[in-house]
């Protein structure tokens, strides 16, 4: 390889490594952990969430991304998944969604849950300069936390819209999708 070619490769890597917003890229090519899938496919982001927390019977997914918001990235690891969202008004990583086997709800208040399979807890940490707070959904084998760090002037106003855009997919449903797409040759979980 000649030097210009190598330099081009280095430049390309620098650009892709440093400048490309992988979240935007994911959105463009259909890599959002979306609640719906095209026929014959399964959302990879949701699949890896199920693998990260094998006990979780419900998995967070995105219904739609609200206007002014963007999905940044998903960071999965065994035992925990983090999804990051940013807002043009409320700042970088204004919302963090966490999926874990359990969560600490000390100091949080239980409120009626809109989802019958889950208990919901709320904790407000900041009401000045925007809004800071946590919402926990606790269910069989797992817990999902919405962590808000809103820095805009609209305070807690976006919380409802953002919450509406997120939903849950059942593990059983996801397993059915995997089986269907693979013609029964694959399952979500080992026997």
């Amino acid at each position: 390889m000649r030097r210009p070619a190598l330099m081009s490769l280095l430049l390309l890597a620098a650009l892709t490594g440093g400048c490309v917003n992988t979240g935007e890229l994911a959105e463009d090519v259909g890599r959002l952990p979306s609640c719906t899938s095209k026929p014959g496919t399964v959302r990879r982001g949701v699949l890896i969430m199920a693998q990260a927390v094998p006990s979780a019977q419900w998995l967070p997914c995105i219904r739609t991304v609200p206007p002014g918001w963007s999905f940044d990235e998903i960071r999965p690891r065994d035992g925990e998944v983090t999804m990051l969202f940013s807002s043009d008004r409320d700042g970088m990583h204004a919302l963090t969604v966490l999926l874990r086997p359990s969560c600490d709800v000390t100091g949080a208040t239980e409120v009626p849950s809109e989802l019958p399979e889950m208990r919901r807890f709320e904790r407000v940490t900041r009401v000045s300069s925007g809004y800071g707070g946590e919402r926990h959904y606790i269910f069989d084998g797992g817990c999902v936390t919405y962590r808000f760090d809103l820095r805009g002037s609209t305070r807690a106003e976006p919380v409802a819209a953002v919450s509406e855009s997120l939903a849950f997919l059942s593990r059983q449903k996801l397993d059915e999708m995997v089986r269907q797409v693979s013609g029964g040759r694959l399952r979500l979980d080992p026997d």
Partner: protein, 560 residues
Amino acid sequence: MSVPADGMSRADAGRLPAAARARRRRRPSGEPPPLPRQLNKSGKFWLMVAGVAVLFCALLVPSGGLTLRLDEIEGPVLSGLAAVRVDPLTTFFRGLDAAIRPVVLAVWWGSILVMLIWRRWRHLFVWIGTLWLVSNLTDVANQVIQRPRPLTVEMVGSWQGFAMPSRPVAVLAATAVNVLYALVPAGRARDRGKLIAAGLVGLVCAGRLYLAIDHPTDILVGVAIGVAIPLAGWRLLVPNDVFPVTYRRGRAAHLDVTGHRGEAILRALHDQLGVVVTAVKPFGLEGSGGSTPLRMTVKSEPETYLFGKLYAITHLRSDRWYKMGRTLLYGRLEDEKPFNTVRRLVQYEDYVLRLMHSADLPVPEPYGFVEITPEREYLLVTEFFAGAHEVGDVEVDEALIDQGLQIVRQLWEAGLAHRDIKPANLLVRDGRLLLIDSAFAEIRPSPWRQAVDLGNMMLVLALRSDVRTVYDRARLRFSDSEIAEAFAATRGLTMPSQLRRMIREHGRDLHAEFTKLLPQRLPPIRIQRWTVRRVGLLAGVVVLAVLASQLLVALLRSPL
């Protein structure tokens, strides 16, 4: 019939013994140069593998269904391994996998330390650059492909991120390649090291398959990226022939002239200059930092020699840094524009030497230069002053003083400045003073620079004689005002470091003694010049230093 070589006059060729001359040979189009620069077969192989891996990854990007199809193919392999799991082996592979991160970090810090101690800056930059590249590329690929971990089979190890390509494997493979090429000398040690590294990486890969945390293809793509990128970096940017890994102390500027390069030099001299040389040895390395000086034995009876200066891309960069350093320190004194290519650097030195020679200055006879690797390595060939001694090692009488002063007068009349008059560049043979090393010489220099040549010459001559004699002899060739200008211009850093050191060792302030003899004293000529370029360069250096320190701190914490 022998034919005079390109760049070598008929008279030049005639001075070499007949046995030393050979028919020159033009390299046909397409034939590699004497020392070709190449990736080697393994480098090309790994780049090809990496190319295939990238194409494979690109296929996986658009469709989630395809990754599931791949899972169907790879699943049985992982299920088969899972079926033979036993607790001790599971514990072992878990431990091995958990060790990757601390081991990579320990190797990272340790290697940086070794490269800093041995001042292998180029190796250091390539190491940091390639690991950064592998780490970022795999990270981006992970997020773009988003391949889940193996389905249907139970994962029994820790994992992080998406599966394709396997980032820990890629970083481990890149670290192994970097260790081999940055720290292990080429040859048997490196060959053995490759086997050990391959074994270690293979074991880790086997472990990750056993733990079912990676698919086989994740690992293959990880290895391809982890090996190909660093290997291409080392082979192209730090070729072993030019930047060998050794643990002997020595100047980095000096190139190894044994092995492939030694053979290439002999072949180039034969083909391009028509000179038969039987041996090439480094010569006077301690006095040279800007090139690799060589003594070349010419095939003849009795043995005769040629002198060679081997220039490589490293010397070009040294020249560039040296000139930039001077601009930052002093501003623009004279032509501080760096050379663009090694070829131009050597062409310039050869040309200046020819000018000096045609001006009847006592310089070595130029024989031209040969190309070793196009645009990367050239060898300047001149007469070798056998049996000559440095002027600092002999008694300097009036005859030598006159010759030294006459050299400066001739330089002035020819419109030249040597710019590096010091004891190491003035040789004495059979009572004749000889001037060598025209690397820094300048055509149509500033009057200041010419005056500095005179001042330095008088100081050198006074080292081994006395100030009064040198001064009296100088007045026969130069006016009082010219001598006064010389000492107003020559002070501090305008004197070569060797000359400054010898004056210090001499224990006398020769400059002050000369100044006392002057009928008129001129104020010292200021060498600090502030220009827009200097200010801009200083600002740029400060900004770059801040950015580099931030990047370094981030990388030192963790390359991962």
